[in-house]
């Protein structure tokens, strides 16, 4: 088929020539990003993948050991616990924070006096550091002097060791995390809510829809894009949560005591940090990082697949 080749060739030549002239500049222009990408992303990623197959203490050169880190990981009871705790934390935290943020956003999406004050009040915990939150939380959770146990005592119940009880610690940490994080997601929801056109509500009212029906059939579908964003963001940050648990469960900043009692609050990121930076097992920590990556990647993929079923985008 000589004809086709004749037709294609000149086009290809022309394109190549043009690109090589512009390409020079093109590559020059994007080179800051490309360099950044190679130096700060590709290289560390490749290095951590390599480390995950080696024994590496940071102070000496890494030694290739094959899949040993991964096989150890599979048998490591603390890793199992950390994995479970991370899922448990996420399952409690993501719905709790998302629903509460939505409720708050709807409540504060009105034209009432003093609304700004409440919006700001809910946002303040977001900008506080975890160390500050720790002190606020202690005023409530302190086993001897805290508000929670004082109330329990008034009701005639036994005091609880909120952060010292293996069964209670994750729900308690989740509650504090929701308190701190809900304001941020509320703002995202508010932005979504303000994009819902008024006339749709009016139309629904004319059709005889009440408050609940308007919420269920107008608000929910129209902010589903925002809800999806909130869910993805919350899930990812939860899997990577570290600072809160590090601050709230360690004595005097001693990271080796964080994650207690008896590893009941040990999560993947904290375990990774401890193994890597406290115990200098960088190879093992890298393996944990890759497992965490695969889990997050999988969950995000599932979320993306599922979004087709319930997220509506305006055409």
């Amino acid at each position: 088929m000589p004809k086709l080749v004749d037709r294609v060739k000149p086009l290809k030549n022309r394109r190549r020539k043009k690109l090589s002239a512009e390409g020079r500049w093109g590559f020059l222009m994007v080179s800051p990003y490309l360099i950044q990408f190679v130096v700060f992303l590709s290289f560390p990623l490749a290095a951590s993948l390599y480390f995950s197959f080696s024994k590496y203490d940071m102070l000496n050169a890494p030694k290739w050991i094959g899949v040993e880190n991964y096989t150890t990981l599979i048998q490591d009871p603390v890793f199992h616990k950390a994995l479970w705790n991370t899922f448990y934390f996420t399952i409690l935290f993501v719905p709790a924070q998302t629903i509460l943020a939505l409720v708050l956003a709807v409540a504060l999406n009105q034209s009432l006096k003093g609304l700004k004050f409440f919006r700001i009040a809910h946002f303040i915990p977001v900008i506080c550091s975890w160390t500050v939150v720790l002190y606020v939380a202690d005023a409530i959770l302190n086993p001897r002097f805290g508000l929670a146990n004082t109330i329990l005592a008034k009701l005639g119940s036994n005091p609880q060791a909120w952060l010292g009880d293996e069964a209670l610690i994750i729900p308690v940490l989740v509650a504090v995390a929701v308190w701190k994080g809900v304001g941020y997601m509320m703002i995202i929801f508010l932005a979504g809510l303000q994009n819902v056109p008024e006339d749709l509500y009016e139309a629904a009212e004319i059709e005889g829809a009440g408050v609940w029906k308007k919420f269920r059939h107008v608000t929910v579908p129209l902010i589903s894009g925002t809800t999806f964003l909130v869910l993805v963001l919350t899930t990812i940050t939860t899997f990577q949560s570290f600072e809160q648990i590090y601050v709230m469960t360690s004595h005097l900043g001693d990271v080796t005591s964080a994650g207690g009692p008896n590893n009941a609050s040990m999560v993947l990121m904290l375990y990774l940090f401890q193994q890597g930076f406290s115990f200098l097992k960088m190879g093992y920590a890298s393996a944990i990082a890759w497992v965490l990556f695969i889990i997050l990647f999988g969950i995000t993929m599932i979320q993306l697949k599922l979004q087709k079923k319930w997220v509506y985008y305006e055409k």
């Binding site: 394109r15 190549r16 690109l19 090589s20 390409g23 020079r24 093109g26 590559f27 020059l28 080179s31 490309l34 360099i35 190679v38 130096v39 203490d57 940071m58 102070l59 000496n60 202690d138 302190n142 086993p143 001897r144 002097f145 060791a161 952060l163 010292g164 004595h251 005097l252 900043g253 990271v255 080796t256 005591s257 207690g260 009692p261 008896n262 590893n263 401890q274 930076f277 406290s278 115990f279 200098l280």
Partner: protein
């Protein structure tokens, strides 16, 4: 397409190369400048508030004395300092000399990051003049660090609480059993009842007989004076599952169940597990020397004495010798200059005195530690001699390369015994198993 791709790749590579070369050339410039008399060393230390200023002052004095050595410093709060240090060692740009927490010396020594300074110590220091050199010696007799200041444990007691209960102050004849008996009379519940009274409520204690926390100021001195411990002499094998440890653990668990000693959950009520004694909520504590600062600050009426004896008369005082480490990767020239700093620190009376005035640690030089400057300094006259006397039966916290890791495993298990979630026997067996695994992973390749 192909051409432009190649070009792009080439550009990228050359830029990376340029970056790398720029990095290298800086280094070599610096080296060539130093080829003369002048040496520049980097000194790293973790911050401790007011002490930073004094450290800078001493560095200035050092530079005056050694005009050919220029010192640059690197400091940060404790945990950041060590995180950064580890990464710097990995990147081969760590300080030439750094201050290491005493419990971390083996971590660096056994992984080859600390320089063997045995020859220099033999050459320049008279070992009998200093406290604590031997705490940095490994099993083969090599030295990897020189103490900067020493923390050693003694028994702190609140005199007012003893007076109020009408009991005698502790002294060097005490055994741990005697301590617990006395502690019962010093423990008071929310209704004002003492642990020796009928109807005492051990779940609502307002004043503890003794506060008890973690390794140094908790279980290690008790285990060791009962003849037990965690590691064998070689520091490579666990000796956790022993008769002696069981006895010592029984003493601790009984005390906690009676409400006389603080258990891990009691400590949750405090902002810091260190605060019960200085805040006046506990009558006694095992405390390292630095605890004097907090106790002085809150103004409680206290004193110190040596720690009690075990059932067979054995004593043990825990020691943490915070030390100078010379970087094993530094050039000979820089390492020698770094050693000059270490020598300056320990041998110069002036330096030792000025540092002692801060009152954060027991001075390394015996002549200074035994002088009035240390023993009678400060407004609060306490029996500091007790700290010095304790050197006779002092020992490390079984520190080795994987200390923080085995410590975590050990704590996890015995804390469950302290909280009555498991038996002493089971806790020790499980701790033995887990600690052995940590040790074998590192030492038996």
């Amino acid at each position: 397409m192909k051409y432009s791709q190649k070009f792009g790749l080439l550009l990228l590579l050359s830029l990376i190369l340029a970056f790398a070369l720029a990095g290298c050339s800086n280094e070599s410039d610096a080296d060539s400048e130093n080829s003369g008399e002048q040496v520049e060393i980097k000194l790293g230390y973790y911050s401790s508030g007011s002490a930073d200023e004094k450290m800078e002052e001493l560095i200035d004095q050092f530079e005056e004395k050694h005009p050919n050595i220029k010192v640059t410093t690197q400091n940060a709060p404790y945990s950041q300092f060590f995180q950064k240090l580890d990464t710097q060692i990995a990147g081969n740009n760590a300080p030439d000399v750094w201050l290491s927490d005493g419990v971390l010396v083996s971590k660096y020594a056994e992984r080859g990051a600390a320089k063997d300074v045995t020859d220099w110590i033999e050459r320049d220091l008279n070992k009998d003049e200093y406290y604590g050199l031997d705490f940095n010696k490994d099993a083969t007799g090599k030295y990897f660090a020189v103490p900067q200041g020493i923390q050693i444990g003694a028994l702190f007691y609140n005199k007012d609480m003893f007076d109020e209960a009408g009991v005698d102050y502790p002294d060097d004849t005490w055994t741990w059993d005697q301590l617990q008996e006395t502690a019962e009379r010093l423990t008071i519940d929310a209704n004002g009842k003492r642990a020796t009274d009928d109807g005492f409520n051990s779940d609502a204690v307002n004043q503890y007989g003794m506060t008890f926390f973690n390794i140094t100021e908790g279980w290690m001195p008790v285990l060791k004076s009962y003849g037990g411990g965690v590691l064998d002499e070689e520091l490579k094998n666990s000796v956790i599952d022993s008769k002696e440890n069981k006895e010592a653990m029984k003493w601790m668990v009984e005390g906690m169940q009676k409400g006389v000693l603080t258990d891990p959950s009691d400590l949750q009520s405090f902002q810091s597990p260190m605060s019960p004694f200085p805040s006046g909520t506990a009558a006694m504590r095992i405390g390292i020397y630095a605890r004097v600062l907090a106790a002085n600050e809150t103004g409680i009426n206290y004193d110190v004495t040596v720690l009690p004896k075990g059932p067979d008369g054995k004593r043990f005082a825990p020691v943490i010798a915070n030390s100078w480490i010379v970087n094993n990767n530094s050039s000979d020239e820089k390492a020698e200059a770094a050693w000059e700093w270490v020598k300056f620190w320990v041998t110069e009376d002036e330096v030792q005195k000025e540092w002692a005035e801060l009152g954060e640690a027991v001075p390394v030089k015996k002549s200074v530690a035994n002088s009035d400057l240390f023993l009678n300094s400060g407004d609060n006259k306490i029996n500091k001699q007790a700290f010095l006397d304790s050197f006779e039966f002092a020992g490390t916290l079984d520190t080795n390369a994987v200390w923080s890791e085995w410590l975590q495993k050990f704590n996890d298990n015995i804390n469950r015994a302290f909280l009555n979630e498991t038996s002493i026997e089971e806790a020790l067996q499980q701790a033995d198993k887990e600690v052995t695994k940590v040790l074998d992973d590192f030492y038996k390749e």
